[in-house]
Symmetry: D2
C-alpha cells in the first residue's frame, strides 16, 4: 500500500503521519520526504507492508493534517489511460506492447488519433481506436469529440504519445495535472515546432526529449523526465529525427512508469519525483 | 543537522524517531528511509533545519531504539582524511584541489605514498606527505609504519587514491568500513591486476571504475559508486588506461562526496546510498 | 552504395581503393578506416553517392587487393533474419514492431521458439512462428530441427532474442559471425546464468547488457554493443530483472541497427564498429 | 603525423590525397572523412605511421587540391594556450594540473584574470598570471591590455575557463575559431546569464554544459562538446551551480583534448569532430 501526501510544511508532519501508520501496525518499507523551502511545501511518499481499508486510513490522516492537505492512500495499482496520437507509431507501439503483456502499470482503454493510420496497430492488440479528424472542424468541436470519449471512460491519465495538435486552455484545465505529453526536445531548448531541424541547424552534440504534464502554457508544464543521446556532425536532420524517436519512446516509458507508480507529485510548475 | 540510523527493522521506528525530533521542534527537511526485507534491516537518513546538542539527541534516540541500533547525530560536516597513493597523480590532485578550495567536504590531514614522486604536488598545496616505501620491508612492518601515521591523526576515513599495494586483513579490519578504494574497473568485471589490459583483450565497448569500501576480501567490499565510459575499437590498451583515469577521478570524487555527506550506510557486503 | 573491406595492412590500400572509386566517378560521402597495429589488419567502410554494378566493382577491388581480402560491395540494404526466442517478449516485440513499420533495416522471415507462448505476438504481426521444443530431445535433434528452418530461409543473420538454450559448437560454427545474441549482463561481469541475481548479491550500482556475436566459447564472442543503467540499494533482484529488460531491448536494437547498416566488421575475437 | 584538410567537395579527393601519402610510403593508420552534402564541403583527418617534412607534404597536397583548401600537416602535438578566468577555480585548476603533469596536450603560457584571486593557484604551478581588471576601464582599453599579453605569446588557442566578460566582436574576430569557451548550460537552453537559476525555476531534470568556439554572436558559436548530468527536485539553485561545475570541468577538458588532438574542424557555424 502506498500513501502520497502533500501540504503546507510544519514541524511534526512525519511524526503525525507515522504515528497513524504505527497505530495500524503498518511497517514502513520505503519512505521519501522532501520539503521545498521556497514554497514551504511538504511532500511525502510512503510504502507500507500491509493493506488496510483505504478510506479509513485516508480519513484518519486527513483529520490530523492541515485542511488543504492532498492525501492519496492506496492508489489503485493499475491506472486507466487514454492515448492520443497523430501519425507516428513509436511511442504508441511501445505503450501497446507493455499494455498487452501487462507490464505498463496501466490499462489502455482507448486510443484516439486525428489521423486514421494507427488504427491498424491498435486493432492488432485489440485496443479500441477512434479516428477523430481535426480537419475542417473548429477547435472546440474537435476537442468536444475527444472530450466525449474521455468522459465515457473516466481515465486516470491522458497520454499524448506524439499528438501533434495543441490543446486549448479550457481542455487542458479540465484535466489539470492529468495530461502527460512527450516533447521532442530537451526543453526548454527548441520549444515549439521542428526541434530536430533547429537542433541540426545549431549543430548541437546532444539531442533530448522531455516528458511533462500539460498546462495551458505550451511546452511549459511541470517536467517529469528528460533524457538525451549524443549526436555527431554526421547526423542529417532526418537522422536526428530517427534518433530522437528512440529517446522519445524511452523517456515517455520512464515517465509513465513513474507516474503510474505514484512517484510524481506536482506543485505549481514543478514535480517532485520520488524514484 | 543530520541523523543517520540503522537497526533491526520493526513497526513504528519512523514514528519513534520523528516523535523525538518533533518534541525538539526540529523540522525534517529531507528524509530517506529504506528497509532491506531480506536482512530485515532498517536504514534512515534525516536532515533537520536546526541544531540541538548532538549528545542529548543521540541519547534520546538510543534510549528508544533497539539496543544494537547504530545512531549518528550531527556528524561533523568536515571529515578528516588520510590519503594513500602510489605513483598516479590524477585522483590525488583532484582531492588536493578540492581540499585547497574547501569544496571537498573533508580536510586532508596527510598523504602517504609508497613512492616519493607525489610529494611535490602535496607540497604545492601545503599538505604533509610521508614517503613510506614498501621495498625491502616485510608487509607487517610496512603497514605498521602507515598505521603509526594514521593513529597520530585519527582520521575519519582513509582514501586509497590509486594505492597499488594490497593491505593485509588485520590492517583492513582495524579500519573496517573506513577505508575507501578506487578500483580501475567496473567490478566485478576484471577484478585483480591489469583490468585495462583485460578489457582491451576482451574488446569491451565500455570501461568503468568502482569506488568501494575495503574489506579483507580483495575487490569484494561494499560498492559505493560505479561509472562507465564508452570505448571503441580505436582505443589501444594505453588509451583505455588514459580514459580510465578520467572515470576513476570522477567516480572517486562522487563516492567521497556521498560518504562525507553521510549518505552512505554500510551493512554486510552492501551499501545503502541516500543520494 | 556501401563498400566494406578488410585485409592484411600495407601501404597504399586507401589509395588503391579510392582510385578505383574515383575512376568510376563515385564520390565518397563518408569514409572510416582503422588499422589494428597488433593484428596488422586493415578495415574500411566507404559510402559513395551513386550506384554501379556490385559484381563489377567487387571484382575490380579484389583484383587490386591482397588475395585474402574480404570485400563486400553494396550489401543489400534490407537483411533477412530469423529470430530465436524462449519465453520473454521484450526483445522480440521490439523487433516485430520495427519490422512491421519497416524501420528495422531487416525483414523477419521466421521466429522459432522453444516454448509456444510467443506465437501469439508473432501472429499479431503476421510473422511465421515455429514451436520447436527442446524437451525430451537430444540436443543434436533439437538443433537439426532449427537448422532445417534456417536452411529453408537462408537468412543473413540469426538473432537470439533471449533464447535461453546454449547452442552447440557445430551449430555455431555453421553460422560463424552471423548469430547475434543479447546477454543479460555487462560482460564479462556475471557471465553464465542468473546474472541479475549475482548483481543483486554483489550490490552493484550499475547493471548492463551486451550484444555480441556467438562463438563456440559461451559468452566470449565479439562484442558489438554494451550499455548500462544505474540501480540502487532499493532494487530487489526482480527489479533488476525488470530494469535489465529495458536495457536488453535497447542494446539489442542498437546492435542490430549497426550490423544491418554494415557498420560492424569482425576479426578474431573483436569487432570494429564504424558508427 | 596528422593531416587535417577541408575544401569544396569533388570526386577523387580521397584518391588524390592518399596517392600523395602512398608515394611517400606513409601508411594510413586511421582515417575519418565526412562530406557535408548541404554545404558541399569535404573534411578529412588522417593519421600516418611515419614523419616526413611538414612543409614538403603540405606543398604537395596543396598543389593537387582546390586552391581554397585548408591543409594542415603535422600540427605540433603540444599546443600553446592562454587561459582567461574570472573568479571560479574549477576549470582553471583542472587545466593547471594537466599542464603540470604534461597530459593536457598543450602548454599554458599565461593566465589572465579580471580578478586577482586565482593568481595564487597559478603561482603554485609556476604559471605566470596577470591581473587585468575590467573595472573603471572602457571595454576597448581592457581588451587591448589582454591583447597585448596575447600578442606577446602568439598562442594557438585562447581558453575562456569561466571568464565572465563578454568580448567585443573586434576582439573575437581577431582570433576567429581560436577562442574556446565553456558555457554553463546545455545550449541553446538557458543562453545568457544565470542559467542555473533559470534551470532551477523551470524544474528541469538534467543540466548541462557546452564547450564552443566563440564568435561575435554571443553563445552562438560552433559547438565542440556538450554533456549533461541528472538533477532532481531536491537540488537547490546552489546545488545546481555545484553540480554544474563538475560537468563544466569535464566538458571543457574533453573539448580541449579534442581540439589539441586536431580532431575538430570548423566550418561556418558548426564543427566536424573526428573522435
Amino acid at each position: 500500500m502506498i500513501a502520497v501526501i502533500q501540504c503546507k510544511d510544519q514541524v511534526g508532519l512525519v511524526a503525525t503521519i507515522s504515528n497513524v501508520l504505527a497505530a495500524e501496525q503498518l511497517n514502513i518499507t520505503s519512505l521519501r520526504e522532501h520539503v521545498d523551502p521556497i514554497e514551504n511545501r511538504f511532500f511525502i511518499r510512503i510504502e507500507v507492508d500491509k493493506e488496510v481499508p483505504k478510506a479509513m486510513l485516508e480519513a484518519k490522516l486527513r483529520s490530523l493534517l492541515p485542511p488543504e492537505a492532498i492525501v492519496a492512500v492506496n492508489p489503485r495499482t493499475e491506472k486507466k489511460i487514454i492515448v492520443l496520437v497523430t501519425r507516428e507509431y513509436h511511442c504508441l507501439s511501445d505503450i501497446l506492447v507493455r499494455h498487452h503483456f501487462k507490464t505498463l502499470g496501466a490499462s489502455v482503454q482507448h486510443v484516439i488519433g486525428n489521423y486514421p493510420m494507427l488504427e491498424d496497430i491498435c486493432q492488432r492488440f485489440e485496443v479500441p481506436f477512434s479516428h477523430i479528424s481535426h480537419q475542417d472542424l473548429p477547435k472546440e468541436v474537435f476537442e468536444q469529440k475527444i472530450m466525449d470519449v474521455l468522459l465515457n471512460h473516466q481515465p486516470d491519465y491522458i497520454v499524448l504519445a506524439k499528438f501533434m495538435r495543441i490543446l486549448s486552455p479550457s481542455f487542458v484545465t479540465a484535466f489539470s495535472s492529468h495530461i502527460i505529453n512527450i516533447h521532442h526536445s530537451f526543453l526548454p531548448a527548441f520549444a515549439g515546432a521542428n526541434p530536430y531541424r533547429q537542433a541540426f541547424e545549431r549543430g548541437v552534440k546532444l539531442i533530448g526529449a522531455t516528458a511533462h504534464f500539460v498546462t495551458d502554457q505550451l511546452d511549459e508544464g511541470p517536467i517529469i523526465a528528460q533524457q538525451i543521446i549524443p549526436v555527431t556532425h554526421s547526423f542529417t536532420a532526418a537522422d536526428m529525427v530517427k534518433a530522437g524517436k528512440e529517446i522519445e519512446t524511452s523517456v515517455l516509458a520512464r515517465a509513465l512508469r513513474l507516474v503510474f507508480d505514484d512517484r510524481v507529485l506536482v506543485y505549481k510548475n514543478k514535480t517532485v519525483v520520488f524514484e
